[in-house]
Each structure stands twice: as structure tokens, then as C-alpha cells.
Amino acid sequence: MADQPILLDVQNLRKTFRVGRGKTLYAVDDVSFAIRRGETLGLVGESGCGKTTVGRTLVRLYTPDAGKILLDGEDIAGYTARQIRKAHLPRRMQMIFQDPYASLNPYFTVGEIIGEGLELHHIGKNREERMERVYALLDQVGLHREHANRFPHEFSGGQRQRVGIARALAMDPEFIVCDEATSALDVSVQAQVMNMLIDLKKERNLTYLVVAHDLSLVRFISDRVAVMYLGKIVEIGDVRSVYDTPRHPYTIGLLDAVPVADPDYEATHDVRLMQGDIGSPINPGPGCRFASRCPYATEQCRRETPPLASAGGDHSVACFHPVV
């Protein structure tokens, strides 16, 4: 993977939201990372850490306040809606959403949902040709052509998520953001959808950003992983390296808190509880954002923001006192 060219290069990305009374929520604050073609980058963190905002900003559902998003070297961060259309960005990057109930228009048939993008982007010569493509897509995600005339409410959660995936694939994109694509599904169905995403990636040489809170799932599907905390990436690197030898105290605490489906392991494993709640991303003060929950925090941590620095190889960590 390391020899592949970089598809997306994100530099110093910032996205804030005004939340009234002069307060600003720093959802994504000075985040940089790169994704190579054909790679799956997992993005993990607890709710409110900004991982979904990163995903949505990359596919330009949001306009970033600052920073660059280089797609094959072309900065799309500042693109207007017109430029986005002109550059055919939706044909290059797509998104699969978390909630298969809220993300499909209930007034559209499944065929219309999947075919809408084809129509808008004038893909296919005529209606018949587009419908053939829709049928092929349904087939590819494990649904049947008869399903094209049904409405979303006639489907189970797993089937709806397949419709969402078919819609994303319809544009034949290079890059897909999977935002908690399976977290609303039951475990057996989650496995079906997960395996399908992996197969599709191989078949179509796709590049994924997988946003999820389930650390086991991200480990299973990703090549590299980035851990976010309150708008910042605190650790990033090869999956093996980050999971086997985590360096940031937050990553260590996060991994330690995941219950493992092995009774003998759980019987002997004592979780070192991370105290307190995740802080607020509204008008954060100076210093490391994890300092208030960190057992190793020093005066320096409360004063300065630690930069993301290499911890050997592809593995980087943003901490003044990384754990060895």
C-alpha cells in the first residue's frame, strides 16, 4: 500500500460551528493526514470527537474554515457548489451514512434512490440503460431487481443499508466515506455488510475512510487508523502498530476499555478506568485537550498543544509524554 500514490492529502483542516452567544465549537481543529489509493483509513474516537465532521468535510458536505483537501493534488477545500458540480466531485467521492432509516428518501422507490445520481450526472444514454445499471447495482449488493420498485419502509435495516451502499456505488466513485455504516445493524447483518464492503473494495479498487466508534470493527477493516479526541488526531499509524503498541495515553485507555468476547481474558483483565467524561469542544483552552483526563499530564500539557510527531515509521503521536 505504501507504494501507492496519495489520493487524498488533508492539511491543517479546520471546521468550526457557531453555537450561539459568541461561542464556537471546534469540531475539527488543525487535522492533517493522507490516504493512499486503495487504502482503508479507520477514524475512531468517542462521540463528539469530530470524526463524522472530518468525513463530511472531505466529501465537501461541509466547507472547511481553513486547510487544504488535496484530491489527486487538486485542492477542493474551497470549491463552491458550482465548482463541485463542474469537477464532478460526486462521481469521485461518495458517502454511506449511519442511519439507514433517515438517509433514504421515503417518497422515492429504491430504484429512484439509486438512479437519481445517474440521472443528475447524465450517466447512461437513456432511462432503460440507467435502469439496467440500477439492476446490476442491486445485484452487486445482494438485493434483487424486483426491489427497485419498492419503497425504503418495506426493507429491513440491513437491506436499507445495502440500498445506501448501492447508491454510493452508482456513481462509480474512487473514494467512499463509510460513516458508522454498520452500527445500526445487528451483529450477523453487520458481518454481512462488512464483508461486502471489503469485497467491493477489492473488486473496484476503492479507497475508504471508515468512521466508527467500534474499535474492533475498525481494526478488522482498516489498513491504517487515526484516533481523534476533541477535534484533534492524537495518534495515527498502521493498524498493527497502533493497536499493538499504542503510544498516546488516550488510545491506551480507549483500547483498554473495550470488552473482549473471551471470558478468561475478561476474568483476569482489570480495566484502568479513564475518569470523567469527554470534555467540551466549545472554546477549548490552550494545551492538550486530553490533559484533564490524562494520568500523565504535566504543566506543559496544560499550556501547550502537543504536535503530531513521528513515533517511528508510519506511526505518529501527539503527546509530550508518549507511553513506551
Partner: protein, 352 residues
């Protein structure tokens, strides 16, 4: 000697809907002893929530209908057949004999009433104490759940608390009258892992201290491994396998349990392995299948599975599974795809 608190036998619960009868729970048996934790696992719609809601008689009847079976609650001199109690009689048991914490604390707490008042209400209902005493108890309970400054939380409305804090407040509410059984329906599913770890550890501590029995409903097998003593796996309204924690994780004997265990990614699984998924979807409980409910999705399905319900086989003391593969007459020898002891030996049919 363990002390039996709850004995559920052949419980059948249906919902009468406009489009027919949904057989949500179809003959469930289990027992619960003081101080122990039973986990009920299974996918959405398998009847796990309906089962415990029926023990507390939380479902309005109609549309719910207890079709048959018994729920016997025993605690010292108290002995009650829950299925026969009237709504009025049930009030003495809810909150006192058993209490429940729900997945979503936001919708389970009353949004228009301050947290403290909701707890005081519970205490005053069951005990003859003054309002001031009840308030002191409520603050003490809130403190016990690890909430910082319980006095201020006492006066807070639920929406002003964070998800973890709300779940702690709901635990305090559930514990208000010192129940002997605590039902927890996906108590940590909506929480982040670090908060989940805090809540699970809190629940374990409280359980030990109060010597309380718990029934934990979850689909997270990691949480099961951490919390449970015994496990019941439910599918399509029935328990398909039950046993000790180790039985279920290390010598599972039902193909559905194999499917569940194989389909979850684990932090400790080898990288590059594929998840085994269970093809298809659960059966329609308007018209449950005649034979084994899992037959249509089971890779080991045989002729007998389609025509006749297998009933339980005794794998080991306390470990039972509902599968024809365990029958002596079954010619097939199979090996479990998961677990430590994978050789599936034939077993005796469990005495009715």
C-alpha cells in the same frame, strides 16, 4: 446453597395486532439465583426485551397477551406468581422486587421532572419515610453511582446531564428501593467505550454490595464476557442454547451461537480473517416455522429440522441446546467452527 429468586417456565407472550398475532416469546425457561448475572443475547426482535418486560409486566395487556407459562418470584417469605397479578398488585413488586434500567436514559427519565424528585417518588411509593429522609437517600444514591456533586444533580433536569451521567442517574433511580433483581436492557449500548467501562464497573460493584441478581440484555458479546455468570441465547422467541459463560463461549453447541460468535470482530482476532456472517434474516413471528426456527438460515439444516422442533438436549450439567445435531439418531458428525472444544458429541434429550 444458592437461593432461587426467579423461575420462569414455558413463558409464551404474544402481541395481538391488527394484522394478526405476533408470537414474540415462544416457550422460554430460565432461573435466576440471588447474586448471579444472567445475560440474554440475541438479535433485534428475538424476544429478549419482551421476556424481561413481561417479568415486570411492563407491556400493556392488550395488545400483549401472556399465552401461557409461569413466572415465579420467591424471596424469603414472599412468593408470587407474577403472571396472575393484577396491575394494582404489581405495583408492590415493580421497583422493589425488580427494577429496570433502559438503553436510552434520555427517553426513560421524565424530561419535565428534576432527577432527584423522580428518585424520591420511587422511595416514597415503597417506604414509609419522610420526604426529607427520602431526599437524603436520593442524594446518597446519586453519590453512590459516582456522580460528582450529587446535591446539584439532584436538582437537575435530565437534559442537562451528559449521556454517562444520565445513565448513572437512571441506575440511582432503579436502585432507589433496593431491588433484589435488576434488569438491564442494553444499558451501555448508547454509551462510548470509556463511559461504558465506567458504568459496567459501577454495576458490578453495586451488585456485589447489594447482593443483587441481574439480567443483562445485550448484543455485545464483549459485555457478556465481562459481566455474566450464565448466558441464554435467544432466537425467534425461544432460548436456543443456555449454559455458563464458559459453556457458551468455549463449547457452544448451537449453530446460531456459532454464527453469533463468528460474526463479531474482536480486538484479539487475527488480522486479515474474514467474519462469518449468518445469511438471511430471522423468521416472521406472525407465522413461526414448524420445525427449528433457525433451520432456514442454518448451514447444517437437515430434513428433521424443517418438520419438527428439536427440543432441548442436555450437553452438560446446566448446558442445554436446542438442536437436532445433538440427537443420537443424527448421522451427521459436525465440528463447531468456533470455541475451544469443537467436537460436537451426541447428547441426551432433556427430560420434560
Amino acid at each position: 446453597m444458592s437461593e432461587r429468586l426467579l423461575t420462569v417456565k414455558d413463558l409464551r407472550v404474544s402481541f395481538m395486532t391488527a394484522s394478526g398475532e405476533v408470537q414474540a416469546v415462544r416457550g422460554v425457561d430460565f432461573t435466576l439465583d440471588r447474586g448471579e448475572t444472567l445475560a440474554i443475547v440475541g438479535e433485534s426482535g428475538c424476544g429478549k426485551s419482551v421476556t424481561i418486560q413481561t417479568v415486570m409486566r411492563l407491556n400493556p395487556e392488550p395488545p400483549a397477551l401472556i399465552r401461557g407459562g409461569s413466572i415465579l418470584y420467591e424471596n424469603g417469605s414472599v412468593k408470587a406468581e407474577i403472571t396472575r397479578l393484577s396491575d394494582r398488585e404489581m405495583r408492590a413488586y415493580r421497583g422493589k422486587a425488580f427494577s429496570m434500567i433502559f438503553q436510552d436514559a434520555m427517553t426513560s427519565l421524565n424530561p419535565t421532572t428534576r432527577v432527584g424528585r423522580q428518585i424520591v417518588e420511587g422511595i416514597l411509593h415503597h417506604e414509609n419515610v419522610s420526604r426529607a429522609e427520602a431526599k437524603a437517600r436520593a442524594i446518597q444514591l446519586l453519590g453512590k453511582t459516582g456522580l460528582p456533586s450529587p446535591e446539584s444533580v439532584y436538582g437537575c433536569y435530565p437534559h442537562t446531564l451528559s449521556g454517562g451521567q444520565r445513565q448513572r442517574a437512571m441506575i440511582a433511580l432503579a436502585l432507589a428501593s433496593n431491588p433484589s433483581i435488576l434488569f438491564a436492557d442494553e444499558p451501555t449500548t448508547a454509551l462510548d467505550v470509556t463511559i461504558q467501562a465506567q458504568i459496567l464497573s459501577l454495576m458490578s460493584d453495586i451488585q456485589k454490595e447489594n447482593h443483587m441478581a441481574m439480567i443483562f440484555i445485550t448484543h455485545n458479546l464483549g459485555v457478556v464476557a465481562k459481566m455474566a455468570d450464565r448466558v441464554a441465547v435467544m432466537y425467534a422467541g425461544q432460548i436456543v442454547e443456555s449454559g455458563t459463560l464458559r459453556d457458551i463461549f468455549y463449547t457452544p453447541r448451537h449453530p446460531y451461537t456459532w454464527g453469533l460468535l463468528g460474526s463479531i470482530p474482536s480486538l484479539r482476532m487475527d488480522l486479515g480473517t474474514r467474519l462469518s456472517s449468518i445469511p438471511g434474516t430471522p423468521p416472521d413471528l406472525f407465522a413461526p416455522p414448524r420445525g427449528c426456527a433457525f433451520a432456514a438460515r442454518c448451514p447444517y439444516c437437515m430434513q428433521a429440522c424443517l418438520s419438527e422442533d428439536p427440543g432441548f438436549y442436555q450437553v452438560d450439567a446446566g448446558h442445554r441446546a436446542r438442536c437436532w445435531l445433538l440427537d443420537r439418531r443424527c448421522p451427521r458428525e459436525v465440528e463447531a467452527p468456533v470455541g475451544r472444544d469443537r467436537t460436537v458429541r451426541k447428547a441426551e434429550r432433556e427430560a420434560e
